[in-house]
Symmetry: C2
Subunit: 209 residues, 2 copies
């Protein structure tokens, strides 16, 4: 069982035209890869890909890149993509702290969806809204730095408000219960699960000029 | 009943040494009124005064001023004060939009406790964290502008985060459930009521240099 899974994963990953194999090849040149000047939207930790695939299908005037580090999850996302034809979407297998080597001043918006909250104080640096990661994002953003964050984790949301704000981001939009607003939203797999359990979904958008 | 109440109120208000009678008399000179250089903390809408009186008793190195516009509520607060001896506390009967005529660059911290949320969009300007009021606060703050806000109203809290942040305030501390943190806090009358009903109390502190 274990072997068959691995064989499948490798096969799916190596064959997919959506997965970028040499992850450092297009640094600073994603415009050329997509062959247009459309904004590039990056989801860090895209999981099984529901959110980014639906976005890519609905918004043809944006390019989307999803990163994820687990082979098995990437394989599941790729299976979903192959059923569609989404030329404005690519996937990269990497860690978030490697982003600085993968992109250079070319990202328009970063999506952080249901990121690991790393609740222990000693793990603060691992949170995707810590100063350490905000520094990384600064090097990959194009002009405006825009982050759109969703989470079900209250402590991570509280932490993120303060961290983003202290870093100079201005919050333009915030809700503590996204699914009870009038806003249109595309959900992630986790989000559907949490919302079905009756958990509120926190969301914010912020911008640093 | 009504007459007796009014008579009482007037009597209580006029006799109290804690109530400032000529509300414009000390503009820019509150340091002289208190006869020290201690920080001046202002509570806008102090209600029956529990929060500010307990603060004044516990923190003798701060001066406290509470404002409130309703005579009957002021009278209740004064009754509470007269049982103690709190030289570092004064009350002023006024509206928040008159603050610009009452103080001049002398306030250290503003407390907004359970302010009216004014939920309708057309009443946005009346919210005590609207740009209109933040402009007023800027003219009465000394150096650092520090606001400490508590509310049970989620929409008002969401609004305040964005408004304060857009105005240039940096949030240094935030919680969506104050009474389930380790923080020490002095409650207001409303807060006790809401917390007893199991409502979460939102709190934030923010600073503008």
């Amino acid at each position: 069982m274990r072997l068959r899974n691995i064989k499948n994963k490798d096969n799916i990953l190596s064959k997919s035209k959506y997965l970028i194999k040499d992850i450092y090849e297009y640094k600073g040149k994603y415009k050329e890869l997509f062959n247009n000047n459309n904004p590039i939207m990056l989801e860090i930790g895209m999981g099984k890909g529901k959110f980014i695939i639906e976005n890519a299908i609905l918004n043809k005037n944006n390019n989307y890149i999803g990163i994820e580090r687990a082979d098995s999850i990437l394989a599941k996302a790729i299976k979903k993509i192959e059923n569609n034809d989404v030329n404005n979407l690519r996937l990269i297998k990497c860690d978030a702290d490697d982003l600085v080597n993968i992109f250079s001043n070319e990202i328009d918006t970063i999506y952080l969806n249901f990121s690991d909250p790393w609740p222990k104080n000693r793990h603060e640096k691992r949170r995707l809204t810590s100063k350490q990661f905000l520094d990384i994002y600064s090097s990959i953003f194009k002009d405006n730095n825009k982050i759109i964050l969703k989470t079900d984790n209250r402590a991570f949301f509280e932490y993120s408000i303060v961290s983003l704000n202290q870093y100079g981001y201005k919050i333009s939009n915030i809700t503590f219960d996204l699914h009870n607003t009038d806003e249109d939203y595309i959900t992630t797999e986790y989000e559907d699960k949490f919302a079905n359990e009756g958990k509120p979904i926190y969301k914010l958008e912020c911008l640093k000029m």
